[in-house]
Symmetry: C2
Subunit: 411 residues, 2 copies
């Protein structure tokens, strides 16, 4: 229970790749954590606790993978807690790491998001990439929805078609998101899918689940991202420079049965899936905590969760960057491009940088921290008001949504 | 970031049972959560966030089971975070729930630990109880230790034999723990294994993994436990009575490879497994935060993690109730029995009440909260100094350990 602030002081990540056959998940976690600790010159002895974001137990058929990371990294003796909340694992793990410090339990916390699959699998059905997708499909409710064939893509496709029907959003508008994010990734040395694409390339790519074509979808990724979080008093004590303060966190979980989210009912219990009300709610909470009233003006740069291109369009609206239903126009108007007024996902996002599930939300927050500290290299955007946002979602129909607002002090 | 205190204000649980074929895990969670909320007269609208403790994704072959509980209980809109840290899941989830409030992110949090297995399993190998044990064995490192046949029992047996060798602890002393806890469970209507046993019954029961016989081992359990946690200001606002304050939390994760914990090395990196140094460290942290200097005198009642009888003996020492190596004598002296100076596990502990993994640590903390509030029915112990302790561990060789100290105000 403290009254001082919490900041991100160190950022590290591995290259995000489709497969990383030569490294275990502990080795990946070691690489990103070493980078984050060295960056702020913090040793293991100055770490009070560790928070892990690791998506599931099926990819590696390993219960409690976090304990083996903890061991390998030499954190024994210190508390370590693992968070799993689907695709939003990294974002919710950041919430937990913030709470570790803000609660007074720790003065410094290392947050590690790591993802890898298949090393240990000897089951025939887990041998190929489509089987990774099957494993992810175990995220759908196993009693009622998995038997219907709900997958990550088909579940998010329902949200996209609802938005198309209600607001007239078009496939070529979503394609612009894919073009932008794959192109942004060209300047990110850690990105999995840097690519120069055209709208036609996206529209003519192989159909996955209408309206998603191949280039509307993020890929399976392996990798690790780490952050060092610290209390203001510890930062002063260690003389650490360029802290990036946590200004706001908002999180909201909605109905998880995709079938129950297809339309609002007469009692208003389910919401309209064209408008993802938990994304709106998470943003509202984060803005209230951060004292932000005009996000489009006050946010310099954002990393939005684009597991699928259309999801980023829906997020423009939920984050208050665009009016309801005007997300498609927002990308057409060029506001979200690198030279626009509010660059979105300079890292390349999930489409371009990759979606290493547990690591993704951590990578996104690391990216905005680096942007605010002026350490984003070739993809550095202009920092004006000194505030940036990351948006992390997961679960069937994005039942999890969390929004983090960071800020740096004026130089 | 707040300066007021955090308390437990509501406690609920289902009966712990070997199998619960008629209820899904969401229905179990509903039952314990309804009980906890009704007890303190708090409605869903007064809940700011939810923390889930659910052990693994293999028992139900379900990734993110928490999202379906959240949905079923009507918590949509609110943040929900899932913690998994092996057998210590419930204890670490309590740490996260405390942090939710102490950080200022929430004023009231519901903590739900729930466990169930097999409903959805159609794989032949998951049909029978020994296969549940196989699933639990996936907790051992899949690369190096699982192939050697390390299971929960064999991993903890190594700790027990180390204690026997170093301190002369005997099987009949461990049997006294089993006799005590199965007997305590006779007064707990929610317990799975209430039994009147003798030391001879325990010693002559079937060998599982030396030195553990059948009655030295806790059983696989299904069930749910819930707590309502609240900030002091919210408690005053709602006029809630009998809050039980969180005085201290300490958590420490040690080496996880059982093979690496067999003996200390010359650099002192591994500790001696006869003395579980992370249990000592977790207790030290919790006592420091709670201002406790003489635990044997200041703690009125404790729930210790007795997945295996010998583990409770090691915990007497780590918690500072007995001197190092004197845990066996401590149970012989009768200090830990219901009419002793420091009753241990009046609920029946894991041996008597059951070990519903994610729910276990939550149940233990609920038990000490009820003891401190004078609501423990037939198993009520005398409350003198008004402080009680719960100890939750997990992982191969108990790589996770967390200790929670609660306190009530003098009446």
């Amino acid at each position: 229970m403290r009254s001082d602030r919490v900041a991100v002081v160190g950022v590290g990540q591995t290259k995000f790749e489709a497969r990383n056959p030569d490294k275990t998940y502990y080795e990946l976690a070691f690489e990103s954590t070493k980078m984050a600790l060295e960056e702020c010159n913090v040793g293991v002895k100055d770490v009070d606790s560790v928070v892990y974001g690791i998506y599931n137990d099926l990819f590696e058929r390993q219960i409690m993978p976090d304990t083996y990371v903890h061991d390998y990294l030499g954190f024994f003796g210190k508390p370590g807690t693992r968070i799993t909340t689907g695709g939003a694992t990294g974002g919710y793990a950041f919430r937990a790491a913030y709470s570790e410090i803000a609660s007074g339990l720790s003065d410094s916390t290392v947050l590690i998001g790591v993802e890898k699959a298949l090393d240990c699998f000897d089951w025939a059905q887990f041998k190929s990439t489509p089987e990774v997708l099957k494993s992810i499909a175990y995220s759908a409710d196993m009693t009622w929805e998995f038997p219907l064939g709900v997958s990550a893509a088909s579940s998010y496709a329902i949200l996209a078609t609802a938005h198309m029907e209600k607001y007239g959003t078009r496939e070529d508008q979503a394609a612009l998101v894919s073009v932008k994010n794959h192109s942004n990734a060209l300047n990110n040395p850690y990105a999995q899918s840097p690519m120069k694409l055209t709208v036609d390339d996206v529209l003519s790519s192989r159909m996955i689940s209408y309206p998603f074509k191949l280039y509307d979808c993020s890929l399976y990724t392996e990798g690790s991202s780490s952050l060092v979080l610290m209390s203001e008093s510890k930062i002063r004590e260690l003389g650490i420079e360029d802290p990036v303060w946590v200004l706001g966190i908002g999180s909201s979980n909605d109905k998880s049965f995709t079938g129950m989210r297809s339309k609002d009912d007469r009692l208003g219990r389910y919401g309209d899936i064209a408008d993802l009300r938990n994304h709106y709610e998470a943003a509202r909470m984060a803005y209230r905590m951060a004292g932000i009233t005009n996000p489009l003006k006050e946010i310099d740069v954002a990393e939005l969760h684009d597991a699928f291109s259309f999801t980023e369009i829906q997020a423009y609206e939920a984050m208050g960057f665009a009016e309801k239903g005007k997300g498609g126009k927002f990308i057409e108007d060029g506001v979200a491009t690198m030279d626009g007024d509010l660059p979105v996902s300079p890292s390349g996002g999930l489409l371009g940088a990759g979606h290493a599930v547990g690591a993704t939300g951590v990578m996104q927050i690391g990216e905005i921290a680096n942007q605010l500290r002026g350490r984003a290299g070739k993809r550095q955007v202009e920092i004006k008001s000194g505030k940036a946002l990351a948006h992390s979602i997961g679960g069937p129909g994005s039942s999890y949504a969390t929004v983090t607002v960071l800020g740096c002090e004026a130089k």
